[in-house]
């Protein structure tokens, strides 16, 4: 009778959905409805993998999730209905659901979620998982001989769309009293970048999707902020960070793009030492590539609808490491990890520091792991090793863990069935999930 398990990682930015047991989710869609300027209706965004040219210019966005938590069940119902019927092609009544929920969801939100799952969609069973334990499960199964699976504990640093959590996991259970949260995620970073670019060059305050793309393609984490600021002040070729992003014009390009990808990659030549000496080799490389392109680059910006970025590229991700710079009264990511570990039993500290797992879309910034390691090392006692693992695909990490859990033989026993929900109600069913 029991057929399939739908695994749904319901993130604030992206929904990752698919069937349990598979390696990758079959669909990834933005968790929102959007309304382009040309339309009066709210539309469902197409999956991120397809590249049909939907016009997202100045689109207004409605998201069912605010600060990581589901606050608009009606909107979520619309999105899920579209997802289940036209993308996943499943019938909820004959499947069970593994749903991720952020840590510390308040009871009213949990109740709304349960109502959505059982009363609106009639799923036959539900299991609610939290993302750190799923990531831990996945990493432990991937490396059966690694320390994560041997010690059965890890610190999962989930830097997602709405917020950042550092949560220790012990024997597949998230230690909830030790989890620490920074209220900064990819959404705040995109908005910050929007603000900077809008003030300094072009008004892009309405271009959420465009700026997401800019952030993903051009932002990186600086390893030495004062040095990089000095380099960013230079003119011409010496400024390794300056690069140009071309806005879509709606005729030739429906999507924005980086004008000269080689130029955008130049920061990678910066090594740990001081100022780079090998700028000359770069110049040669540029000259070899295209000569007419350089003249192109010097033409007036205003007619071409493009903008330049230099220090914004690393000052934006910098905020995760120093939220105080924004005026937030919160500690940075390294300190967040240390506090999460310190809330655990001292016997766990050495092994926790040795198994830090990075997940979530915002960890995709180049050099993110390196920077955390550098900031963490001085804060961690000398005798402990610090080992940071980046997931190979941080956006899908949680979903893969869910898929693994859904295919395990015990899964059915862990679920709450629809009959139980109708008998006991939301609050008592929730006790089964221990969080």
């Amino acid at each position: 009778m029991q057929t399939n398990v739908v695994v749904l990682d319901n993130g604030g930015g992206l929904i990752k959905a698919g069937l349990g047991g598979e390696r990758d989710p079959s669909t990834i869609i933005p968790n929102c409805l959007y309304r382009p300027l040309s339309s009066k209706k709210w539309l469902h965004p197409s999956p991120t993998s397809s590249d049909d040219p939907t016009d997202l210019t100045s689109a207004a966005v409605r998201r069912p999730i605010d600060r990581g938590y589901l606050i608009n069940p009606d909107l979520q119902r619309d999105i899920w209905a579209h997802l289940f019927s036209s993308l996943l092609h499943i019938t909820p009544a004959q499947s069970s659901l593994l749903l991720t929920e952020p840590l510390f969801a308040i009871p009213s939100i949990q109740r709304a979620t349960d109502e959505l799952v059982f009363e609106d969609f009639n799923f036959s069973a539900l299991y609610v998982a939290d993302s750190p334990s799923l990531v831990h499960l996945y990493e432990a199964s991937r490396r059966p001989t690694g320390i994560v699976s041997k010690a059965q504990c890890s610190v999962v640093v989930d830097c997602g769309f709405s917020f950042t959590h550092a949560a220790p996991v012990f024997q597949n259970f998230t230690i909830n009293y030790a989890a620490k949260r920074i209220d900064l995620g990819g959404k705040a970073l995109t908005n910050f970048l929007k603000e900077l670019v809008s003030y300094r060059s072009v008004n892009v305050m309405d271009e959420t999707f465009l700026m997401d793309d800019v952030k993903e393609k051009l932002c990186f984490v600086s390893l030495d902020v004062p040095r990089d600021l000095r380099i960013a002040k230079k003119y011409g070729k010496d400024n390794l960070f300056r690069c140009t992003y071309v806005l879509p014009d709606g005729v030739e390009h429906t999507k924005g793009f980086v004008k000269d990808p080689a130029e955008a990659q130049r920061y990678l030549t910066l090594t740990d030492g001081d100022f780079p000496a090998q700028v000359g080799t770069n110049k040669d490389l540029d000259q070899l590539q295209v000569t007419e392109k350089r003249e192109d680059r010097k033409r007036v910006d205003l007619t071409k609808n493009e903008f330049e970025l230099s220090n914004e590229r690393f000052l934006v991700p910098e905020m995760i490491f120093h939220p105080a710079d924004l005026g937030m009264n919160q500690a940075g990511l390294a300190e967040c990890i240390v506090r999460a570990v310190n809330s655990c039993h001292p016997h766990l500290h050495p092994v926790l520091y040795e198994s830090i797992i990075l997940t979530g879309g915002s960890t995709l910034f180049p050099r993110f792991a390196e920077r955390i390691e550098r900031e963490l090392r001085p804060l961690v006692p000398d005798c402990y090793r610090v080992n940071i693992t980046s997931q190979e695909d941080p956006i899908l990490g949680v979903w893969r863990g869910g898929s693994l859990l859904a295919s395990s033989p015990d899964f059915e026993a862990m679920c709450v069935t629809k009959a139980e929900y109708e008998e006991l109600g939301s609050a008592r069913c929730r006790r089964r999930f221990f969080h």
């Binding site: 207004a60 605010d66 840590l103 620490k180």
Partner: protein, 173 residues
């Protein structure tokens, strides 16, 4: 001797009173600044500014543009007959999604016993060092100067001029 010194001190104190009135004004303005800073942090979680307003506007337009305007009006009047304005407003208020902050207030997490982990206790808390780096709001490099009118940071004369021309007092006043 002591009486002599006391009188200038009194004069000094009168001067500090003058400063104090200025200080009071400065405090008021810094309160403004704090509010502005909070508002800017809030804005970082915005989805798309002014979206709701647009929506109502466009809905009006849609109903006017439509060919079946008469039909729409009929429909409207029908529904109006059934529901009083108050009931409708109540229903709208119930339907409108509440923000997470409102839900959080409603959940009353402060009343939980101290050992129960909750959303509020999971916040990472203030940083151990209070030092805050300042970046020039105009160009982004390290900012050593503060605007005397609105408190925004800048790094050089050039950036100060740009700041004064473009958005001095924009967030505060």
């Amino acid at each position: 001797m002591e009486e002599d010194t006391s009188s200038p001190i009194r004069r000094v104190s009168s001067r500090t009173r003058k400063v104090a009135s200025k200080m009071a004004a400065a405090l008021a303005s810094s309160d403004n600044r704090a509010q502005a800073a909070l508002a800017r942090l809030e804005a970082l979680e915005n989805d798309n500014a002014g979206m709701e307003m647009q929506e109502t506007n466009e809905d009006d337009e849609a109903s006017l543009d439509d060919d079946d305007q008469v039909y729409m009006q009929k429909k409207m009047s029908k529904s109006m007959k059934r529901k009083t304005r108050q009931a409708k407003a109540l229903e709208n208020a119930r339907k409108a999604p509440r923000t997470f902050i409102e839900l959080l207030h409603e959940a009353n997490l402060e009343s939980l016993p101290p050992h129960v982990p909750s959303y509020l206790k999971a916040a990472v808390g203030p940083p151990s060092s209070t030092s805050r780096r300042h970046f020039c709001t105009v160009c982004g490099s390290a900012a050593n100067y503060t605007c005397i009118r609105c408190g925004i940071r800048f790094c050089s004369c050039r950036c100060q001029n740009i700041h004064n021309d473009t958005r001095c007092l924009k967030f505060v006043a």
